[in-house]
Symmetry: D2
Subunit: 409 residues, 4 copies
């Protein structure tokens, strides 16, 4: 009798790890590191329960993938055991390239390297260690495998990734109205000519899914307090990089120090495997550990922002529907500069403005409905879903945020 590895998940009850290979991948330090990267970065400043990690999300997505594939098999879609395992691995590793506070740091600690690219590099590195056993997973992940539905399950507008993270984020934030009925959506999935489709009777679940996702964006992911905290983090890292590149040394981990000192681009990761290796040592604790140090740092920018994080004295933010005029921004900048009594050159660390945007449905990456008559149509053209077309409009909001006060000495 071989004991099954199982994991507790408050969202689904139990998650079974279905194969030795998958267990070995989960056990790998690259994957274990996801235990130390929160799924929602700084969102716990607004929703204190939102402390769940990318580790749990990846496992949850693997679990849903396995339910989905079982269901498709029951409906008669032929899925081989290797395709099954590869799809599970592909979803398990789809976010493996995320660094700490990913979205925020993609554009500050790194110089704008998409995490998808780093995920691919990391999966390829793992594949070398696992002697090519991840070939098929990589092929699915890169959408080179002929059976397109497998990639669509990993990455599309109705992929398993979203089904898990929406449910999980909703669970841990406590925003119950974000519930999406992933169970029903999965039951409605089918494969038609190797494409992922949704049976027509599931259209209201899709509409509700898109609406719930929209809600989660404005209520959680783009919540003004989260936007403000992320901006603070970006400013903090930017300052540290500036100082590091001026030659200052920090008592941080050597990997973090490396990324502070060196401007790195995707090609550097591609040409030098050591850099990826370094990157895969980083996690949220490097940043938080630094904040704990920097709260007493002589540099007043590092000190102030670090202390703001530790006392939840975040930048005051104003998030509105209409853009601010250049004059208004200018005026607010000037007022802030005077109030904080800082040199103009440092204002950018304590004053930020910009926009956030979101859409409900992305027309270019359509969700396909299989009608009762066997036709495949875009969900946005379904006669009784007037909402969806409207939801494809991109909504933008504009913000200004700034420090409330500083300790200058």
């Amino acid at each position: 009798m071989k004991s099954q590895k199982i994991l507790n998940d408050p969202v689904y009850g139990f998650i079974t790890i279905p194969s030795e290979l998958i267990f070995a991948i989960i056990d790998h330090p690259y994957f274990q590191r996801l235990r130390r990267i929160r799924q929602l970065g700084l969102t716990d400043f607004v929703y204190p329960g939102a402390l769940h990690t990318r580790f749990h999300h990846a496992l949850g997505a693997m679990h849903l993938m396995s339910i989905t594939l079982d269901n498709l098999r029951l409906k008669g879609t032929d899925i081989s055991d290797s395709e099954y395992e590869a799809a599970l691995i592909a979803i398990l590793l789809h976010d493996i390239g995320h660094g700490p506070f990913s979205h925020a740091l993609e554009f500050s600690l790194l110089e704008g390297i998409p995490h998808e690219e780093l995920s691919i590099l990391t999966i390829e590195a793992l594949n070398r260690e696992f002697a090519g056993q991840l070939d098929l997973a990589i092929s699915i992940f890169k959408n080179k495998y002929p059976r397109k539905f497998l990639n669509q399950l990993v990455s599309s507008q109705l992929d398993i990734d979203r089904l898990d993270y929406l449910q999980r984020d909703c669970f841990f934030t406590g925003v119950s109205e974000g519930t999406i009925g992933a169970d029903r959506i999965i039951k409605m999935m089918a494969v038609h000519k190797d494409q992922l489709v949704i049976e027509e009777k599931g259209i209201y679940s899709i509409e509700n899914f898109l609406s719930a996702r929209r809600l989660m964006y404005w209520q959680v992911y783009l919540h003004k307090t989260t936007v403000s905290a992320e901006k603070m983090l970006i400013n903090l890292i930017t300052r540290a990089k500036t100082l590091a590149r001026q030659g200052l040394s920090f008592q941080v981990s050597e990997e973090f120090d490396f990324f502070l000192k060196n401007p790195l681009h995707l090609k550097d990761f591609q040409s030098n495997p050591q850099i990826l290796e370094q990157f895969l040592q980083l996690d949220d604790f490097d940043i938080w550990g630094a904040i704990k140090l920097w709260k007493s740092h002589p540099d007043y920018v590092l000190k102030n922002i670090s202390r703001m994080f530790l006392t939840r004295n975040l930048f005051k933010i104003n998030l509105v529907n209409d853009p601010f005029s250049p004059e208004e921004i200018q005026e607010q900048m000037e007022k802030t500069r005077q109030k904080l009594a800082i040199p103009s050159a440092d204002l950018d660390y304590f004053f930020s403005h910009g926009k956030v945007s979101n859409y409900g449905y992305l027309a270019s990456d359509r969700i396909n409905i299989l009608t009762k008559k066997g036709k495949v149509v875009d969900v946005a053209t379904a006669a009784d879903l007037p909402n969806i077309k409207v939801m494809s409009k991109i909504v933008e909001k504009y913000y200004v945020c700034k420090a409330k006060n500083l300790i200058l000495s």
Copy 2:
């Protein structure tokens, strides 16, 4: 130490009955009768858990009302203890005039008497028994009380009634994606110039509420199987009435017999209190008890439809987006008549067609948003809610349904 009356509710945990008067109302036979009227009629043919009653819904709505009023008081709205109790009574009794399988039988057992009218008559009857203690509740219920928000909480497009029934129906059907976040909506409610308003930051919850409600309509309330079962019930009662008015006697309860025999209109209820008293003896068990008898009745219409209910051999229904042409209906009728081998005169008992309709937002009964700047605007005009305007479009669907087979002897 006075023990509090409490009731278990799987939806909210516990419901406290807050006053002696309210306890006496709940204990009254008119209210206890709601224990025997299901909230969702025949929906359990589709969702087997949907067996909850109007009794539980009324108590749940009272519970939410009490949370809502507590919250409004915390926000500074002055609500006197008598207003508080009256609002609780008004919501508790808002559905007291419902008969068995209400929506279906409003237009078959009764001749189209709206249950709201019967609710008022019943509350007035109770008020006589309770020596005028329900005066204020009646005034709120009839929207004659000057502080309009109290009536709006009882009856409007975002009333406590809906907040409870959507949550409750969602819970007992298991359609989890219908979750509406009633908690958050209640927290966002405020009173502005005696009108109920929603604070601006709650707009996404409202949007999601409307979208969830729409989902529940198509997924549950207007589910094709429910539509079909209700049509069968209407046909069954219509047949029984026809026979009763031809002089046939049934072994049913005397009250049910009375309503089968006599065509009654609202004015009959108003002029003769005995009729209301009779009506308030009816519940689902009268109908089900009759079905159990009629399954062996010599009349083949009663027998067949009753048996269909008991074996879940429901009318086959086709529910589509576009109207059927008169020719198509004619053709289907003829085919059905031939297949079932029945006289044309009886075809209406076994063949029905019609339409169902629903809307997401009713522009005429607007939901008011209180903006951060203190302005009151219709939710449908909020800049970043493109959905809502679209949801005010009425969606209609068309159906044809018919018996699959009959036992003629």
Copy 3:
């Protein structure tokens, strides 16, 4: 692509019906009738949400059985496809012989025929209709199949029946602390020498399961109000039988009438298949339909008890830990007789006394633990579970209950 039949269940999300044969069984009138028999009889007088039916419970148990067998297969236990389907059928039909308000009416409407016997007769009747396809299920159900664990899953102290009903009753009553962690228990199940065992690391789940079950007994199944309502029902049926056997006719369904008139024993069911057929027409609605009629019946016993049900004016009950002395009972009877002003001969209809009992663990039907060292031991001997031995003590409670008041005219 073959569409899977699925059912919504608020407890588990979705239940899949895994084979054509099982679908046909569920569709059979004998099984559909379980839609009209509540799992918890009159318990909704205490817990208004407890309206769930034996239909839903049977489906839920089938669902858990399927999860259990999948899990055992993963652990290496060989289970053939026919064993799998037979085990599902056995659990699906384990309660098929229950009549309306089963436990109460087993000893009043029937003359003490255990529902297990009627279940066997019913499954055999179904087997004839299904041309022997239920042979293996019957063999498992009757514990004649050599692989004992299959029967143990259907009927033992830790069977799938209990795992479902405890969870389900807990869900619908709202007694959340009755939660048993069925998921974990199932994961801990294993098969050792064809016996069902629990892996040692699961012992705390077993302890908690037994403790939760004990709680559910005292908090729900033997709640004093339920005991009182059941006693009333027994008295009502007893009266109706007495009158029927004196020649009185009721306007009830012919099947109900048949059982009121005729004293029937197990051998009658065995010798005459028509009797079983009649029995399988009965459901809760026959009883409730009769109560609706009897509320106006000239017999004052029928009238009074029926009205008490309809207005929730239940017998007042006193449930205590120590037996009442004969004198005390005598005194209370006399007082009740005088208060109600009824003849002594009728007192038994309005006054009852007796005892209820429960145990936490039944030593004679042990739960087996498989230790890490591969030994099988009784859970009650596990060193660090002092509780369980203690829980095998039978706890008895004693009650007296009586009508509060009567309408005599």
Copy 4:
């Protein structure tokens, strides 16, 4: 209209912060620091969802306290507004003296200073800042206030602290069978002669609560993997202290460095407020930040244990019911030493043994039941609760744990 401060809690929905003073306390850096201290230390190695913090727990406990006091008021117990607020503050701050990974570090980073003492010192420090507004809360917390039930709600065998943490831990670990029905227990609470009592009808909830708590101990708090991880942490800190006191400097935060270098006793905290101030700068991130640094430290003990944490390569642990003999321990130590090839002097860093213990009910701190006849009795003497007496037996388990392998260079 004054906006209420509310917080999202997936466990309870919403938590309202009921007063300005309480809001100011929550906003204080001492309290905000609890955001960075996990409730369950290293338990997420077993239950990946268990990442919730002392911050959330403290707020949840305050929420339950407020429900409890509302309920007691409804039952007629007079509770003044200042007592109400003070009780909320007392429970809010009951754990404020916890350091990072509290239970583990109480006896390694500190020299065995109970966190309760540090909580008192911290509350007193806050009281000075808040100009004496916490006087009454302190009096309740120290059990000097005459109305004993207020202290019993803060700290006793059935206190609000436990009601929250059991529910919360159960929610975030996903161990659903640990559900305790806090709602019902709170409804059953009453005050009798200024003592907290439970109404008799609540005894089964109490029994279940104790049983669930026992389950949570063995299933979660004393789970062998958690025991092993905590032991590793203690060994890591012990090593760091040893090195620090030999004069080694670490690049950690100055506060952490201070506690590594200086052996401190309660009297030091009492005599020098600066030490408490330093202590209240520490949180989990100091430890995790150090682990990230130490993974590359020249000291092989620090390096190895840090890496084990980062790759979840925990000490292998054997947890059994019977004590190990000295010989067995000796033998295992020797084997471990040889296998790891380390000097004897270092063995203690990589090999540990000891015992853990737990009890279900602590007879010395009884839970009082108020019988229907108005008598107060210990729950353990209630006639039909044979379990509880048995649960007061202390259960001990014994463990040996050791590193699996080392990197020596």
